[in-house]
Amino acid sequence: MAQSQELLLNQVITKIRQSLDLRDILATTVAEVRRFLGADRLLIYQFSDQRPARQPDLTEQSTPVMPLAPGDHQSAPSVTPAAQPPPGYITYEALGSETLTSVLSFTETTCFGGDVAHLTKYLDGLPVAIPDVTMAYPDAPCLLALLQRVQVKAQIIAPIVIHGEVWGLLIAHQCDRPRQWKNQELLLLRHIAEHLGVAIQQAQLYEQLREQAQSLETCVVGRTHELQDALASAQTANQAKSEFLATMSHELRTPLTCIIGMSATLLRWSFGDLSARQREYLNTIHTSGEQLLTVINDILEVAKIEAGRVALDVSEITLSTLVRQSLEPFRALARDRQIELTSDTTLLAGNDTFSGDGRRIKQILSNLLSNALKFTAPGGRVTLRSRRENQVAIFQLEDTGIGISDAQKPLLFTKFQQLEPSRQRRYQGTGLGLALTKQLVELHGGSISVNSREGVGSVFTVRLPAQRLTTAAAAQTLEPTTLPEPVVGRIVLVEDQEDMAGLICDLLTAAEYQVIWVIEGSRVVEQVALLQPAVVIISMGLTGVDGYHVIQALRDSLVTGSVKMLALASEKEADRPVQGVDAVLPYPLQPEQLVDAINRLTTVAEVKVTR
């Protein structure tokens, strides 16, 4: 007996270890144990949930219940004991013979009345043996009647305790007779119940783990979707920003170009007619317009670099020339502010040729110079030192300015950050200068650093590695005799009306085009062939030369045949349509129309060049 009991226990334990399917474990165990005991019925009664058996006084108030039968949850919960949901259900059953009544769907609420206080007596895990139900429950006629209704004569009740709570009961029924249960049988049931407790606990943990894993997975999927959405919307937003900036640049620059260009024209024309004050106002309009244009260009440059649409235009450059060209525009300013501006390029001697994007390196130096001058008081010094360490060009800009505190240094190269609070600003600027400088330096794969003491001055150091020459640039340096690529943005203007030409020159130079104004049209084809402009603007009202013939001649020439042409036609020529040109603008000239038309033509030209 003891041996076979051991065997059964081992079977159960093995089953528990091998299977994670709790239902399988419970069903098998119930059947095996019933057979072993020779009992008529073996059940597992499971309480509806983890009843707080430790605090039985609370259970009556509100106990969440998971009904087994689908109909159950339709009955509205009520406070009357009769309508109380059952404290639990019989979830597993093994029967000794087919004639026995199944109690599987048996629910009983009235006898216990939801009162589970009696459960506390099971907490010690000890099984209760009832040899004869009629003897055991004389005081509980309801329960007795219930047991008799399903023919129970004797039973053992072994609690399944998990975490100090009674999870359920393992119950053996004897239906044909009262039965004196043996101690061994009680012990067996107790062990089985303990092992089932472990199995159930494991299953619960496993289930928890699975749920967590699942919810984690759901979380990950959700997050991924969110991230994808966020990325998509960020990309859309970024694209919208780029488009917006492109549009803005056009919308802002065209009118601004007219302000700058026409104020320049007025300043030149009306020299004698203007009072000093009028002249000063016009000058302010002109200068302010130019400042505004510079700011807009800087913002666009930053946006372009951020959008990754900027590629270095690498060519062979001469460092000392570049330094000189960068310094030149600041000399007047330094003189005016009585700042000593010096440059030391002696260390570059003999090692002057470098490969990089000259325009952008100049921009870097200009930004730093402008910054140094801005924050240096009259009487101060600004020094630009240039040297070379193998393949790295090093520029060091030292000033005796206000300096930067350690706390401010991290903000220095941040976009739109100014070290002065805006309310007490003494120094102008958008706060883009150094951020743009840093971007430009990084575009070269270089680094920028600052060393500064407040009240003493600052030293900015820029290190730029030499860039690989693109094959086209290399070829160009090998054969200096080849004609240079036409500069995009160079315009030849053929116009003999001084006033009109002056205005057009001012407008186009304000829009940063280079203009070569040819006063008379007799040698336009040769000149255009020589100058290789992006666009030729030609007046149809030239004296002495027929504009139509000039256009035809330009088109017929192999060298100038594909040049963009813009004709300026007065009403006189309206009845004679201009052919062979890319655009026609009428007199009187609308400045914005002109700037727009030229922008359009040069953009097309640029696209052609890049292809």
Binding site: E328, N367, A501, I516, I519
Partner: protein
């Protein structure tokens, strides 16, 4: 911010289609392209076609390159083959000039 870009206004006086005049335009074109990346307006004047303009500006020989803006006005006479002279005339060799003076 970056300094305001100066717009250069230049005038080149040529006489017809003489080799000297063509060479002057060619040379100036190269200088402007390679050394000078700023904004400029170059006015090309043929003194044979517009003698009155040459007279107004007191041009005695061709080719002549005049820098009108930024001040001061400078004139460079000759076919511009001396690049350095042209650059100094355009204020592009300002620093060297100053240094040279200092070290003399």
């Amino acid at each position: 911010m970056s300094p305001l870009k100066k717009t250069y206004i230049l005038k080149l006086y040529v006489a017809g289609n003489t080799p000297n005049s063509v060479r002057a335009l060619q040379t100036l074109n190269q200088i402007l392209e390679q050394e000078f990346q700023g904004v400029y307006a170059l006015k090309v004047i043929d003194v044979l076609k517009n003698p009155q303009l040459a007279e107004e500006d007191k041009i005695l020989a061709t080719p002549t390159l005049a820098k009108i803006l930024p001040p001061p006005v400078r004139k460079i006479i000759g076919d511009l083959s001396d690049r350095e002279r042209v650059l100094i005339g355009l204020d592009l060799l300002y620093e060297e000039l100053q240094k040279g003076e200092l070290y003399k």
